[in-house]
């Protein structure tokens, strides 16, 4: 008898708890009406949330050097390098209407997700104000994310380059110029090294958080096929994957664990690689005498390279919008742009170009970056545009294609047909138009031919 009462009491308690925990009706996503800002002497606080500058030293440089002269607000610079918690915080703040974030600093690829979360202010007015700053026009256009609003102001840029250990130079194919390699020569170089050392010393960032898919999107596909989506299963693409398999033959099989290539370069597991400038810079920093930078190889359609862009947005409903705008103004000034290159190794977004006074390791890397952009056959591929929150699905198609063709050895044509069909379905669902170097599709979705 007693037991029964206990059980019922227990159940009742659980049910009450469950009822209490039922999600309360979400408040309307509009922010609390901004209280009339009283004019105070002390600068207001401003939260600057960034996905960039993961290493603690870089965060300190940001706080103590780059942000030092900014007086319009008291900036609290916080870094969340993984996108999931970063996005979760922003989405949660938007949903509850309790906004603390002011300025958002993130990569171009993150901004579509922020737009989808309805988390960004329209910065068109600010963009007009900053016009005299001569920010590279293509970058400003990218900041609109294919809309007529300015969602972010370009902040800084990086790219992917080839980095090699000087020990690899003797094995260069006869007649090859290390600053103007083709992908075929790259494979041959790897083969020569393998033959001589009995070790596979090419390396590619194909780990779980490595950026191999960017190399596929912005380097391999455009260089071989002159496009990405439209040419996804073209004959040129079949040739490309055949060559990628040949490169992979000479690539360290541990590449599937490499997320950034600097550690593998420093341990000499790898002698030659292509990766993001921020993910190889420690090689130059720790052993400046061992490594050199060079342009990424070229394919039949040119030496395509991808420019990686980080931008600054303003959180919708932020309590300190004036401070946020002032901070963006500050960070895009030439002095701060130069300081960003000097201190944290990202390059300016201004048309005036690169600063002269940079530390030795930055100079080593910069050398490759400049050679790459100035190469006679150099062409720029853009980051995917208009994919919204589905950018991850898009990347996954390139990752899966690589896994199936290269790692599992499936038939190239069959894989390209199947993954191409997925790509078509995704682009049709998103109604996303083609971006460069794919030819314009007008207002129709970009489709695989």
């Amino acid at each position: 008898m007693n037991k029964r009462i206990y059980r019922i009491a227990m159940l009742a308690m659980l049910l009450t708890l469950l009822a209490a925990c039922a999600p309360a009706p979400t408040p309307a996503p509009t922010a609390a009406p901004p209280t009339a800002a009283p004019t105070v002497a002390a600068p207001q606080a401003l939260l600057f949330s960034s996905t960039q500058f993961n290493p603690v030293e870089e965060q300190e440089k940001m706080r103590t050097v780059i942000l030092k002269d900014f007086t319009a607000a008291k900036v609290d610079f916080v870094v969340d390098p993984t996108e999931a918690p970063f996005m979760d915080r922003i989405i949660a703040e938007q949903k509850t209407g309790k906004i603390t974030v002011g300025v958002i600093g993130a990569l171009h690829g993150t901004f579509p997700n922020l737009v989808q979360a309805n988390a960004l202010e329209d910065l068109t007015a600010l963009a007009a104000k900053l016009q005299s700053r001569s920010i590279v026009k293509e970058f400003m256009t990218l900041g609109k994310l294919g809309s007529d609003k300015q969602y972010y102001i370009p902040w800084m840029q990086a790219t992917y380059i080839m980095v090699y250990n000087k020990k690899a130079l003797p094995y260069l194919p006869a007649g090859a110029n290390v600053d103007a390699l083709t992908y075929a020569q790259f494979a041959e170089w790897g083969k020569n090294i393998t033959t001589a050392t009995k070790e596979k010393k090419l390396g590619l960032p194909a780990g779980p958080t490595g950026l191999m898919h960017r190399l596929t999107q912005g380097y391999l596909y455009p260089s071989y096929t002159g496009g990405l989506v439209t040419t996804y299963k073209s004959d040129d693409a079949v040739k490309m994957w055949t060559d990628v398999k040949a490169i992979w033959e000479q690539t360290n099989p541990q590449s599937t664990t490499y997320n950034n290539m600097q550690d593998a370069l420093l341990s000499e597991e790898v002698w030659v690689t292509i990766d993001h400038t921020a993910r190889v810079v420690n090689a130059f920093k720790n052993k400046p005498n061992d490594f050199l930078a060079a342009p990424a190889p070229a394919g039949p359609k040119g030496r395509y390279y991808m420019s990686v862009l980080a931008g600054l947005g303003i959180m919708k409903g932020t309590p300190n919008k004036a401070g946020a705008e002032a901070l963006i103004d500050y960070l895009t000034q030439p002095v701060q742009q130069a300081a960003t290159t000097r201190e944290v190794n990202f390059y300016p977004v201004l048309e005036t170009g690169l600063p002269a006074d940079v530390p030795a390791h930055v100079k080593l890397e910069l050398d490759g970056v400049v050679k790459q952009s100035k190469a006679s056959d150099a062409k720029v591929a853009l980051l995917p545009i208009g994919l919204g929150g589905k950018a991850g699905d898009f990347n996954k198609i390139q990752q899966d294609t690589l896994t199936r063709i290269v790692l599992k050895g499936e038939d190239i044509k069959k894989v390209l047909d199947e993954e191409g069909a997925k790509l078509n379905a995704l682009m049709a669902e998103l109604k996303a138009a083609c971006w460069s170097p794919d030819p314009s599709s007008g207002d129709k979705p970009c489709q695989v031919k």
Binding site: L18, A84, N252, Q254, E269, A391
Partner: protein
Amino acid sequence: MRVRTESILPYSLLAPTLIFITLLIVVPIFQAFLLAFQTADGEFTLTQFEKMIADTSFADALKFTFLLLIFIVPAQVVLALVMALLIHTRFKGHTFFLYIYALPLAISDLAAGIVWLAIFTERGFLNSGLFQLGLLERPFLFLSYQNLPALFSTLIIAESWRATAIVMVILLAGLQVIPRDYFEAADVFGANTLKRTLFVVLPLLRPSLQNALIIRTIFAFQTFAVVLALAGRVIPVLTGEAYNWYALNRNANIAAAYSTLVLIFTVIATVVYFRLLRTSTAEAGFD
């Protein structure tokens, strides 16, 4: 009046835990469960599961999750049992070994993964050590996708190191509540150590074994960070895929579908253990 206070007391003592579990575990489980059956707009659908099954990595993730389970759980339970029995003999210095055995409990699984990566990677501790001893001419690639058995073995070693401790602690606790009388009785009847272990200790340890198996199996389904660190994308597992879909592809619904699948497997495994290792109250409580 007095009776009433007494009957409320247990509930008020239980309440904090109950509230905690409900808020932080039960509610999120329901929410995740619902997500798996919803479209991005919140309508009911089964497409998340269809997409999950059609995914390139799904079959491999399923296969490797179960392979890991099959290799790890028995190995760990046997290993943990041996360790617990050894500690239980209270030999001189046994507390030192207890601390050594329990050390991995204090280390997060991603940290453990990275430690093992530093050991097994091409220029890692193991290869450097073997090379310096003159046993290797050039580094052996343990973590190559072209050598799945080697890669898989490293996972089993790393996972065993990381998670055997929890099983051992549970079994040791179980051993310690067995009254000494049983052992004395066994001695009186002339049982040797082997017989005593087989016919006295093991049957009495059944409730603890059951708990240990359940917990270990649940953990095995959740194995993820060690695999991610050592094998990258080459060996996908179910929870790893849930993470990828949520964190990298930003698709909470498919991530939830994976989690739901893991939940279903976990429930099935728990029920199976309860049935197979059913214990009577007498055995469990020694009364």
